[in-house]
């Protein structure tokens, strides 16, 4: 059974002028069909305003579809009484770490979620420990979140979500405000959740390098899913991605340029190692 499924998911914003009259309607998500299985690592790419975040907000019932439906673990997000179950199933981490941390001490912040679910105290502490260990922040449990770096704060936010034991975690541009080492830490934590904990991960990002490990990549434009496939399939289409205001990883681009110049290099090279091998193999 699929964990997250949508059929013809459409979401429209109604734009109003100052007097409240309707000026027009923007279709932010346009008939999207999703089918995400338990344990997959899904990446969503798309330029600013392509509808990625609006789509993501449907997965934990922050937004409801204007038309079509979304099911999370079999629950339709329209069913109001299921809202809390849905949010417990699919947790979300946002772009700015400073907007998501409320506790004065790291371990308290992480305990906030399970506490609100009514989890018994002993169980809360064991969940806090296990979550902080998963993201590699256990040694900072007594620290004040204010003194942490961006990457560390973002990992605490992730721990806060996984302490609620969701089946799926949605990361909406979690690395946009971080430096390279912070980005690396967060992506490593996300991959570990998927590899070790078998949690379903949905990663929204602008950094092409971060998605090469995904099982499947979806590319959005004007609210529609316009490309999807494995990272290799998607990044083989350099020209098409450029038309969509996107990029490919630098290594892929280098391989593509070399191929254009006549070297016999396969499409969709993703890593330095693959490129070196390809160069070795071409006469």
């Amino acid at each position: 059974m699929s964990l997250i499924k949508s059929e013809k998911l459409t979401f429209e914003y109604i734009r109003r002028d100052e007097e409240g009259n309707v000026e027009g309607i923007t279709r932010a998500v346009d008939e999207v069909d999703l089918d995400i299985q338990q344990g997959q690592f899904i990446a969503i790419l798309g330029h600013n305003g392509s509808g990625k975040s609006t789509l993501a907000k449907h997965i934990n019932a922050i937004l409801y579809p204007t038309e079509g439906s979304v099911w999370v673990d079999g629950m339709n997000t329209r069913e109001e009484k299921k809202v809390w179950d849905i949010r417990q199933t699919a947790g979300m981490v946002f772009q700015n770490p400073d907007n998501q941390i409320i506790g004065q001490v790291v371990e308290e912040d992480v305990g906030f979620g399970p506490e609100n679910l009514g989890v018994p105290t002993n169980e809360i502490w064991s969940r806090v420990e296990e979550s902080l260990k998963t993201v590699g922040m256990w040694e900072y449990r007594k620290h004040s979140p204010n003194k942490l770096s961006g990457g560390q704060k973002q990992r605490v936010s992730i721990a806060g979500v996984i302490a609620m034991h969701p089946k799926c975690i949605v990361l909406d541009e979690p690395t946009a405000m971080l430096d390279p080492s912070g980005r690396y830490e967060v992506i490593r934590a996300a991959r570990a959740l998927n590899d070790v904990e078998k949690m379903t991960v949905i990663l929204i990002t602008h950094y092409m390098e971060e998605v090469i490990f995904a099982d499947r990549v979806l590319v959005m434009d004007s609210g529609k899913v316009v490309m999807q496939g494995t990272p290799r399939e998607v990044f083989s289409q350099v020209e098409k991605l450029k038309e969509l205001r996107l990029d490919v990883p630098q290594v892929t681009l280098l391989a593509y340029e070399l191929k254009k110049k006549g070297l016999n290099i396969p499409d969709g090279i993703l890593t330095t190692k693959e490129l070196v091998n390809a160069i070795n193999n071409c006469r």
């Binding site: 430096d179 080492s181 280098l254």
Partner: protein, 282 residues
């Protein structure tokens, strides 16, 4: 017209237990018309350094000279310095506040005490310079896309007619196309308007492609001050500082380790293409 840092130190919370040295004996000179990249890990002192450039902060010891004058001098006009050195903060679009794009860009020059006509002329020129279409001038900046808002914010600084433009992470949070557009705009300001550029960035690829010179900060110290080629030779040191080198440079290093006779000081894509074709005799 140059910026000189002469043994600049800056400490926060001096005379307390919490004293931290954010800048430690930093010395360098930026000349007219340069395009300098400034890189460093979060907390390396980049932002503190940048705020010294237009006098938002003054050195605890050492001197900062702009155009030959010490900015810590009692008679020195910091207001004049700030109109000469424009600072574009991270996420500058958060600072937009006026009802229309045009009014927002007018705010800076208006505060310089210029006449209305001159203020509006400057705002017009600045918006043209960042490639904003005239029909958008009287729109609310809040209805625009992220990339457009950022252009408006940059125009607001350009309307002050600075000779030096310091940009702190100007591409953060933009999609790849938006990022390229902002970088091309910065390049145009440098090449055509002859504005000195200091680009603070986490992205080694951006810095390698645009800057002529790179300053690397670590723990408050200036570690490297050299051309991109020479700086990116120090792979291990940069990685230890939590920084990365451009991806194509990694490829060249990997080829070298695989036994190819390639130069490893390559940092841009076209150079890498040429070099790989050379070893393959094409």
């Amino acid at each position: 017209m140059s910026i000189i840092f002469n043994h600049v130190c800056h400490s926060y919370d001096t005379d307390t237990q919490l004293k931290t040295d954010a800048l430690k004996d930093v010395s360098f000179k930026i000349d007219d018309g340069e395009f300098v990249g400034l890189i460093g890990h979060t907390g390396s002192g980049k932002s503190t350094l940048v705020q010294h450039m237009n006098g938002l902060m003054l050195p605890t010891s050492g001197e900062v000279y702009f155009d030959g004058k010490d900015i810590s001098d009692k008679e020195y006009s910091l207001k004049e310095l700030r109109s000469n050195v424009g600072l574009v903060f991270q996420y500058p679009e958060h600072q937009l506040f006026e009802a229309t794009v045009f009014e927002d860009v007018c705010f800076g020059p208006k505060n310089l005490g210029l006449e209305k006509k001159e203020v509006e002329l400057r705002a017009f020129q600045a918006l043209k310079l960042v490639g904003m279409k005239e029909e958008l001038f009287y729109q609310s900046p809040f209805d625009m896309s992220g990339g457009q808002k950022r252009r408006v914010a940059i125009a607001g600084v350009l309307a002050m007619k600075p000779r030096v433009l310091v940009l702190d992470e100007p591409t953060a949070g933009l999609d790849p196309k938006g990022r390229d557009e902002i970088l091309e705009l910065i390049k145009k300001l440098h090449d055509e308007e002859k504005i000195t550029i200091v680009l603070v960035s986490h992205s080694m690829d951006d810095v390698a492609n645009y800057a002529q010179r790179i300053l690397v900060m670590n723990k408050g110290e200036l570690i490297f001050d050299d051309t991109p080629k020479n700086v990116f030779k120090h792979v291990n040191e940069l990685e230890q500082m939590g920084l990365a080198i451009p991806q194509v440079t990694y490829v060249m290093h990997a080829l070298s380790e695989a036994g190819y006779d390639v130069s490893t000081d390559i940092s841009t894509l076209p150079e890498a293409v040429t070099e790989i074709l050379r070893i393959k005799n094409r």
